[in-house]
């Protein structure tokens, strides 16, 4: 697991394209465009199953600015906006 925040391999899920497949390395809700507080956003993401080690895949994206996205997280499919997906760091 990478914990170095400057690791060049780190990608924010909110930036990834459709078809992206990866693994969650950590959550970082501090700098997103979300209206939720970092604490609240992180908690919600965890409640929806976004935890370290989970496999994620971007299955679909919306029409306007390719937003929102439908993400496969292990065995669940979650729809969310890219601004919230920014808190999910993947590799």
């Amino acid at each position: 697991m990478t914990s170095d925040p400057n690791n060049s391999q780190d990608i924010r899920l909110g930036h990834a394209d459709r078809g992206f497949v990866g693994k969650i390395t950590r959550l970082d809700a501090l700098v997103t465009g979300s209206s939720l507080s970092p604490q609240e956003l992180e908690q919600r993401l965890v409640e929806m199953g976004f935890v370290e080690g989970a496999r994620v895949e971007i299955l679909h994206e919306g029409t306007i600015r390719r937003d929102p996205i439908a993400v496969r997280v292990d065995s669940t499919t979650i729809a969310l906006r890219r601004s919230e997906a920014m808190a999910v760091i993947v590799e």
Partner: protein, 625 residues
């Protein structure tokens, strides 16, 4: 054994089949649909186990945690923690999981273990898991969790036999000392640890098939396609409104002919001198209530579509497709499904805003929900459209009447979004709406039985309203329109001397600028109780007024007596006007104050008046008469 009945509670993540289990166990017909957040209330039912124990079971809203983020989740939390007023802690918690997707429920199970109540984990939808080749080692799972585990198929007869047997076994031991609740709100670190533990348990006890099921994904590749997705959504709505007009026609004509025949029969059968009773039955009951019941086929068709889409799993997809547009109007990501439910009726729509966590976002959604075209508007719209819009085909295949109907629905949606955007701009500019985060369930084949039950329930509710609210309003209107009777030797129809005419004429100056005559004014007042009442009231008023058209169906009468400008104005009035007392009452209950009820009433009335005024005057200026 005590004689008091044992209390069971159904708890689990959203859309795992709790309500289906509840219905199977108790024989109820609570609403079931394939999207998260269907149940937003506590529902209670009872049954007797094979060993003869009487059991009270609670169906609860689905939740991902006990945190209680939104009003519906709070209900679940309070019940399981024993904080709900007037409700003791459950004796046994039935934790319901979707066997095809255990992750999120298992984490909830780990959290629930802390409350120290006896628990049984139910792996529901095991039929789907088996079909996909998923194997679950129940013994291992039970051992890892330290809980009894059973499987169930809530939607199949006999699918809960094992569950009942296990309940009996557990109930026999339920008197044993129960540990006190150890539950404390979990921190993020706790949640993560619990999720990792759940994932470990799943890895140890679940074997996935070598070839995963990709059907949902393949359907979504089309349905959620950036271009095709929106086109398909529009097409579905379009076909729905075409169907409302084309398919319902024969059944409607049959109903309407039957009512005329019934009226004629009463006319012929009643002896001379029974004129008053005859007028009451023929003009009040049959022309009034009958003119509303005629729309039953259309209500059924609309619900057939909505229920099919709900059961298939399309609703969450529609929310996905509409998210950016809704967000642009300042709406919460989860506002879509409540608004869509409002197509049926604003009342369940307003109730289901309980899934929205932020109170402001919830309030905005409640305020605009009555603008969505509910099914009570269908009789009004259809009546006027059938009377004034020719049933011609545009480009050879599009039914013009269906097209106008589609337009009215679009107008309802557009105005709801506009009101939301305006409210956000003026009232809550600093408030960013909360984000969209929604589980997309796997598609399921719609179940004939649940569709049939859904339609039956709606039809029953519609007829019940016709027999109660509408009938009682009709009695009132018939009375007002018949008394006082015309003086001897008076000229013109007798109704001109009645209370109804007096009231109507008194209001007419207020409504003349928007093109309404006194008959419409009379119909609108009782129409405040329910929208369909206006149709019935017009039926009664014009049928008592009589004249050469008296025998015709109400639609034909209107076509002769109103100008097109008046008809258009009334259509527009009905897009906005707050003509439903029950909706206002629910707004008051759900917002906890009369203030927002008054706000809704006033803003909708103002919008209705202004929009009708513009429509009427524009139509006249364009020379439409």
């Amino acid at each position: 054994m005590t004689t008091a009945s044992l209390r069971l509670a159904l708890v689990g993540a959203p859309n795992t089949g709790k309500t289906s289990l509840f219905n199977r166990l108790t024989g109820s017909t609570q609403k079931v649909a394939n999207y998260p957040g269907v149940t937003v209330e506590r529902k209670s039912g009872s049954f007797v186990t094979p060993e003869g124990r009487s059991v009270t079971v609670l169906d609860l809203p689905g939740t991902y945690s006990l945190r209680g983020r939104s009003p519906d989740e709070e209900i679940t939390r309070d019940i399981v923690l024993g904080r709900f007023k007037g409700e003791a802690v459950p004796d046994l918690v039935l934790c319901v999981a979707d066997a095809t997707n255990l992750r999120l429920t298992l984490r909830l199970v780990l959290e629930l273990k802390q409350i120290g109540r006896p628990m049984l984990l139910v792996l529901n939808m095991i039929d789907i898991a088996r079909r996909r080749g998923v194997t679950i080692d129940l013994e291992r799972l039970s051992q890892e969790l330290g809980l009894p585990v059973t499987t169930a198929v809530a939607v199949r007869k006999g699918g809960v036999d094992d569950l009942l047997k296990r309940t009996d076994e557990l109930m026999a031991r339920v008197q044993e000392a129960q540990a006190a609740s150890q539950w404390t709100a979990p921190t993020i670190a706790d949640l993560k640890a619990a999720q990792r533990e759940a994932d470990r348990i799943i890895a140890a006890s679940v074997t996935l098939p070598a070839k995963p099921d990709t059907l949902t994904n393949r359907i979504d590749a089309v349905v959620l396609h950036p271009v095709w997705g929106l086109a398909i959504l529009a097409l579905i709505l379009f076909v729905m409104f075409q169907a409302v007009f084309s398919w319902a026609q024969p059944a409607m004509e049959l109903l309407s002919d039957s009512f005329s025949a019934l009226g004629q029969w009463i006319h012929d059968v009643l002896p001379e001198g029974w004129g008053l009773l005859q007028s009451f039955l023929q003009n009040g009951v049959i022309s009034g209530v009958g003119s509303v019941i005629v729309f039953l086929p259309q209500i059924i068709i609309i619900f057939l579509f909505i229920l099919l889409l709900e059961d298939f799993g399309y609703m969450a997809r529609a929310a996905f497709l509409m998210d950016r547009i809704m967000g642009g109007a300042g709406l919460h990501g989860r506002a879509f499904i409540p608004l869509l439910s409002s197509f049926a009726c604003a009342i369940p729509g307003i109730m289901s805003t309980r899934v929205i966590d932020n109170p402001r976002d919830r309030l905005t959604t409640i305020l605009i929900a009555p603008l969505m075209t509910c099914s009570a508007r269908i009789p009004v719209y259809t009546l006027i459209i059938s009377a004034f819009v020719p049933a011609t085909k545009v480009w050879g295949w599009i039914n013009l009447q269906g097209l106008v109907m589609f337009g009215l629905y679009a107008a309802g949606i557009t105005s709801a979004l506009t009101v939301s955007a305006v409210a956000k701009f003026f009232l809550w500019r600093d408030h960013a709406p909360a984000p969209f985060m929604l589980e997309l369930p796997d598609y399921k084949v719609p179940r004939l039985r649940s569709i049939a039950i859904g339609i039956f329930n709606r039809a029953k509710a519609f007829l019940y309203r016709a027999g109660t609210t509408i009938l009682s309003m009709m009695v009132l209107i018939w009375f007002l329109a018949s008394f006082p009777t015309a003086p001897a030797g008076a000229e013109g129809p007798a109704i001109n001397y009645s209370f109804a005419a007096m009231i109507g004429h008194a209001l007419e100056p207020l409504l003349r600028p928007i093109g309404f005559n006194w008959q419409i004014a009379v119909a609108l007042i009782p129409g405040m109780a329910a929208r369909e009442v206006a149709v019935a009231a017009l039926g009664t008023v014009y049928s008592i007024e009589g004249g050469k058209e008296a025998a015709d169906a109400i639609g034909q009468v209107l076509a002769q007596k109103w100008t097109l400008a008046t008809a258009l104005s009334l259509l527009v009035w009905y897009i906005f006007a707050p003509q439903c007392a029950s909706t206002l009452a629910v707004i008051r209950r759900e917002t906890g104050s009369a203030k927002w009820m008054v706000v809704t009433f006033v803003y909708m009335l103002a919008l209705a008046y202004v929009a009708s005024f513009l429509t009427f005057n524009l139509a006249q200026a364009l020379g439409i008469h």
